[in-house]
Amino acid sequence: MRRVYLDHSATTPVRPEVLEAMLPFLKDEAFGNPSTIYSYGREAKKALDEAREKVASLIGARPEEIFFTSGGTEADNLALIGTAAANEKKGRHIITSSIEHHAVLHTAQYLMRHGFKITFLPVTPEGLVRVEDVEEAITDETILISVMHVNNEVGTIQPIKEIGHLARERGIIFHTDAVQSVGKIPVNVDELNVDLLSASSHKIYGPKGVGCLYIRKGTRINPILHGGAQERKRRPGTENMPGIVGFGRAAELAGQELDSEMERLKGLRDKLIDGIMNRIEDVQLNGDREKRVATNANFSFRYVEGESLLLSLDMKGICASSGSACTSGSLDPSHVLLAMGIPHEVAHGSVRMTLGRDNTEADIDYVLEVMPEIVARLRSMSPLYNQ
């Protein structure tokens, strides 16, 4: 059976070039601890520095502003909790959006339980944060603004540059969760006016379990983990050398291929979106059509529930994900779709398809071929649907 992987926003396979770069660190060739002074350790230190340069270069930062973490989640936690702890004397108000990833959302809620005031900004029906809303939300107490760059569910690109401009004017620290934008659209920390930026390796064909927080020089932030002096005392623990080296290589490749892949995937995505909309009735595209990353398509199929759609797709070899309540442990449908004002029952029938390097034109043709049957079959079982 054909296998079509359309869940690249969930995770991506490690590229062969990346694995190759990692292998010496997974053998006894180069296993040293970079904190040690003997030759094994010095080799590791060198590799660590190189990886840091590569990641820095992808986002226009300086190497010493990159702090490796165990992933996007830890980077987000460090950004929010670390900034809150270091600046609480200045104020206890934080602004974020209602469509953030749980790594930001739940961390903000944690801070709320610890005496911080959090503004969760609304979004437009297209899934965009309004700069005016940010401006209005700012108070003298505001110490941090955290708005994601690209939304992981609907792929919308937020007005980070403009929000960053505002934050800078007001002297407020600005964080963006760029886990879904790095490697997919151009990201430059200076152009975006951000002080903190989270990225994750496994979204860009690097290994899982590694990510980083960019911290602009001079930004006040405390560590959230305590221990050794690694990562310039901001993130303790023996460095995940194979992971970090893999992340570095993945970042390097992502930078080289960014323009061409963006172009190619945009073509495939548009074909997918147009194909689905033309072939199937009662379907809507979620998220702004223009301000959208090239890899994301997100549909709601009326009268159909998302998990059963996913299972049906899986039986045809297609991997996708959904914003349905039934696939989420919490049994609430996607908070992102709800924040966009999409009714519960429509959100319930949503499917996200996210494209990547391995996808071809033929993959899209295949999806367009099987999707109508699947939807029709499920609708024929649905008590909500009347032909």
Binding site: Y303, V304, E305, E307, S308, L311, M315, S324, A325, C326, T327, G329, L331, P333, H344, E345, H348, S380, M381, S382, P383, L384
Partner: protein, 125 residues
């Protein structure tokens, strides 16, 4: 995540559809996730001769709907009333923990359909 039995009933659900002029209809919505199931029964001489369902819901919801229709066909009303959520889940070789609530849909819809039938019968008599 799902057992083979669940996947079988999901892929080839038995008794999908509607019954015209049924003896009873039960519709329930799952308050936890928002899924919906409608179940039709045709009763003759106290025996459930035919049963059909329509479900808007997850894989487990569809599979349990299908399973309950199989379990109930040919049973007396009394026997049918004894079919519990647990029994449906067990007949499917179990459900993942976070999906146990889905089995409520099917048994509840069945019991509502029987109630509907009994109410109608009372009025008729």
């Amino acid at each position: 995540m799902y057992s083979e039995k669940v996947m079988d009933h999901f892929t080839n659900p038995r008794n999908v559809g509607e019954i015209e002029n049924p003896s009873g209809v039960g519709e329930v919505g799952n308050p936890v996730c928002g899924d919906i199931m409608r179940l039709y029964i045709q009763v003759e001489d106290g025996i459930i001769k035919d049963v059909k369902f329509k479900t808007f819901g997850c894989g487990a919801a569809i599979a349990t709907s299908s399973m309950v229709t199989e379990m109930v066909k040919g049973k007396t009303i009394e026997e049918a009333l004894k079919i519990s959520n647990k029994a449906v889940a067990e007949a499917l070789d179990g459900l993942p923990a976070q999906k146990m609530h889905c089995s409520n849909l099917a048994a509840d819809a069945l019991h509502k359909a029987i109630e509907d039938y009994q109410n109608k019968s009372k009025k008729a008599s």
